[in-house]
Assembly symmetry: C2
Homo-oligomer: 524 residues x 2
């Protein structure tokens, strides 16, 4: 989430930054501009953001990195995502439950996430909880979550580089062995995946101490040590600190990275900041969108028949799922409740916990992720999935989708900024179908009523957010058919799942939906 400086810095050193933004030249002038504009109004963001090549998230709000990572590796068997997680971030609810997303990963058909917990011990002004429990508890916690923790612990930079590199090799080997074995034996049951606990001092290599207080290795290293109210106290201290990196040996006298270091970096798309998975539009395969006419309800008189709008839509979605392996459906244990039953004729619930023979519809392959009661994980995985160039939607109860209000906001920001960046390619829209809406809550009652997600999204720009309120099966079909073909939107459909009268014929529905706003004279 955070750490704009690290990502921007590395993208610049790898050359990607200058390729995209040629004004940031690989010399003193470009380097100076890069530093000057960092975290400055009108300049570059202090957190990871769309402007930063190699990023797939509008950072700042902590908690979603791991769910994004798991979404990214779904259906990408050769992808390994190293996901760095702050020990502060690890305390958020969304992150704490995202560890369990390893229960959806199939060692044959999916990629692998290597979570790297940066246990630097502190957050803004406090120690972190994971740093203040026993090592025994720490290890058990991750083992309990289904991981094999590798600990990389120390302060000596050279030794730590070696140790980290060695550990990474081991971890990758471990992953390759797991995958090979799964492929050879055709056994895709859940393995124990590795994760890394990286124990380093907070503010490592930064100011050691300042005004008689330790900085490195304490919470005081958060943000800008040696400064007060945004101003550096003593430029000399800053200079000494920065010079301690031996900048003279790293850059030549034009301010260009010395060539032997430049050559160490991977080339082209192998650079993390140029990885096409982080500009998902590059990888996007267009969705095959079937005609929905065969799925509409046919009748002669308005209101003549009743049906469940969502059940009717389910038949169409089944066809979409069948035609597109890169289309996934996410929901918090509600696929059946939301009447998507027939979809299970052609796919399964993807789940890789223990599966018993008597289980229904579960399989470690499948295009529905429905077996985790977490709106956060559904949203985060869907984001990761579409940001890496795929398609899908999230279905949920209208009242409880508010749980991810803030995540939807951050994605809206992402889309808005991307629309201003020509190098960011179009990605599929983030689609919601909300059922159990507040006007059909006779059985669950007040606890399940809150239509406020629309109120939330309607305040965003119309170039980003689209809202659909289909009132019968045919308008629902038309709306859904439309949204899955759009790009770069957040689309919300509120739909009914209860048996109810059907109003518009196929043709009428098309005309109505094309209009957007309409007066239905015979009904008013």
């Amino acid at each position: 989430g955070h750490s704009g400086q690290a990502l921007i810095g590395n993208a610049y050193l790898e050359g990607t930054y200058s390729e995209i933004y040629p004004e940031f030249t690989q010399d003193e002038q470009g380097l100076t501009m890069l530093c000057r504009l960092f975290s400055f109004p009108g300049g570059t963001s202090s957190h990871v953001a769309p402007e930063v090549p190699g990023s797939i998230n509008e950072g700042g709000e902590l908690g979603y990195s791991l769910a994004h990572a798991y979404g990214a590796v779904l259906g990408n068997p050769d992808l390994i995502v190293a996901c760095t997680i702050g020990d502060g971030e690890a305390e958020t609810g969304p992150l704490a439950t995202s560890w369990q997303a390893n229960k959806f990963i199939n060692p044959i058909t999916d990629g692998v996430v290597i979570p790297i917990l940066n246990l630097n011990g502190y957050k803004i002004a406090n120690p972190t909880i994971l740093a203040r429990i026993s090592e025994d508890e720490l290890i058990k916690y991750f083992e309990g979550l289904g991981y094999k923790p590798y600990i990389v612990n120390g302060e000596d930079q050279i030794k730590m580089h070696e140790l980290m590199s060695k550990t990474m090799d081991e971890v990758i080997l471990n992953i390759k062995n797991i995958k090979n074995k799964a492929n050879l034996t055709n056994d895709s049951s859940r393995p124990i995946w590795p994760m890394i606990i990286l124990k380093t001092p907070k503010g490592w290599t930064g100011l050691k101490s300042y005004k008689d207080k330790n900085i490195e290795g304490t919470f005081r290293a958060h943000q800008v040590p040696g400064s007060t109210g945004g101003k550096v106290d003593d430029p000399k201290i800053l200079e000494d600190w920065l010079k301690s990196y031996q900048v003279d040996e790293l850059f030549d006298k034009n301010g260009t990275l010395v060539s032997y270091l430049k050559e160490m970096s991977p080339k082209g798309n192998k650079r993390m900041s140029a990885n096409p998975y982080t500009n998902g539009g590059l990888l996007l395969k267009e969705l095959i969108i079937p005609n929905y006419d065969p799925y509409t309800l046919k009748f002669n008189k308005h209101g003549e028949i009743t049906n469940s709008d969502m059940s009717v839509l389910g038949e169409y979605i089944k066809e979409v799922v069948k035609l597109n392996k890169n289309f996934m459906i996410f929901g918090p244990d509600e696929a059946i409740s939301n009447r998507l039953n027939v979809v299970f004729d052609v796919t399964k619930r993807k789940f890789n916990g223990t599966i018993f023979e008597y289980d229904e519809l579960l399989s470690n392959e499948g295009q529905v992720i429905d077996s985790m009661l977490s709106e956060h994980v559904c949203q985060g995985m869907l984001e990761g999935y579409i940001l890496t160039g795929r398609h899908g939607f999230f279905h949920s109860y209208e009242a409880f989708i508010r749980i991810i209000d803030s995540m939807a906001s951050q994605h809206a920001k992402w889309l808005k900024m991307c629309s201003e960046l020509s190098w960011r390619k179009d990605i599929a829209s983030l689609n919601y179908i909300l059922t159990s809406h507040c006007w059909q809550q006779d059985h669950n009652g007040y606890t399940h009523q809150d239509p406020g997600f629309l109120n939330h999204l309607i305040s965003k720009k119309s170039e980003i957010v689209r809202i659909y309120l289909p009132f019968d099966a045919n308008t629902l079909l038309s709306s859904f058919h439309h949204i899955i073909g759009t790009k770069n939107y957040i689309n919300v459909i509120v739909a009914s799942k209860h048996e109810s009268p059907q109003w518009l014929t196929t043709e009428e529905a098309k005309i109505h939906c094309a209009k957007g706003v309409d007066i239905i004279t015979w009904a008013s």
Copy 2:
């Protein structure tokens, strides 16, 4: 969260329900009405709700039980809260991180939460993750979270009653020993608290099977087995099932609970449904609210001086904290960032992870909970704290408070329903101070901008929600002084923490705030 039927049923059997709602008599007529109105429009809720005696939460939205429980035991050393958690609920983000709230519990000054994970294996239509990992992983997970798990596992009702009762005795003994030892040795460092894993079949004692499918022990037991579209398929099956409870032996021929069973229930306030902690207003001690005049900024000319509004407020809050041991401040690692520094002159950050000598401001006693980066836990613990009759506020960044949008909605519902129930006594308002607001984000930028929490709350009724936008220190002081004295509201103050011009004198601020809306002629 859920399970209205269990709570309503028990409240009725304990007599509390009839005491509060005399029309629900302890006879056939009352019992019939109780059943008829359950989960019916205009009747009783299907989930726990304010109308149910013994509840402290508007249920339905899962994920908050454990944070509420931990909030309730803060500062209540003799209180033991048994918190039942569905294994589905345990998958939500808020719940997954709430386990860590044991890092705030002081064995001398606080009460104890006994989390009871009801590992019944299923949620709506899926197995649960915790039921589909190895027992080794399950136990490590809870040990890693700092608990000692007690497993209660079985299907035989009589044996299970015995086992549960025995386990409860052990657990209580364990708790008493921990507390005694802590008191005797005056050592309040974090003990390993017990928790219970209760492994029972889902839908236990319900329909065994139906139409060749197992019901008991499967997800099919969720909601109303043997029914289609809200209607019972075969009344005979329902009748047999209900009769299997030997109702004739439990109720006399008037439909009144037989006396030997009635006598088994505790009396008066010892009944869970009559526990005064669940009607917190009964226990509320009025806050001592100091005069804020001594804390206002004094100046002669509008805009003459600058200051940080939040820093000025901090001095006043320090006084409130000093005068009121039943006042707590919650925030996600932001107390210093939000300029509450001086509050630490009189109290500490309450934290019961490992504390080192060089740590600042940490102690296992204190009125500030600031050491966990989770907006969900802050909100949940504050709710639990005020719902059991105490006072406090939650400070957070304006953009990220949206993380708890849905929790705020549920609390608003709670307050609205309570206002219609005369037996529910007034509780302190749920107060927010939001800083880092969207108009002062030059440094963090777009990632930290979202003023939508106000947009969210403004859609609630004005009898429930109040919003304050003080624009300098004196209006902030006046607003804060006002809100902490109110009851049954959700109050939101948006405040600035950055050095900025000061506009209104003490008297002007008072007049302005009393008006609510105002035209400041000299400034326009």
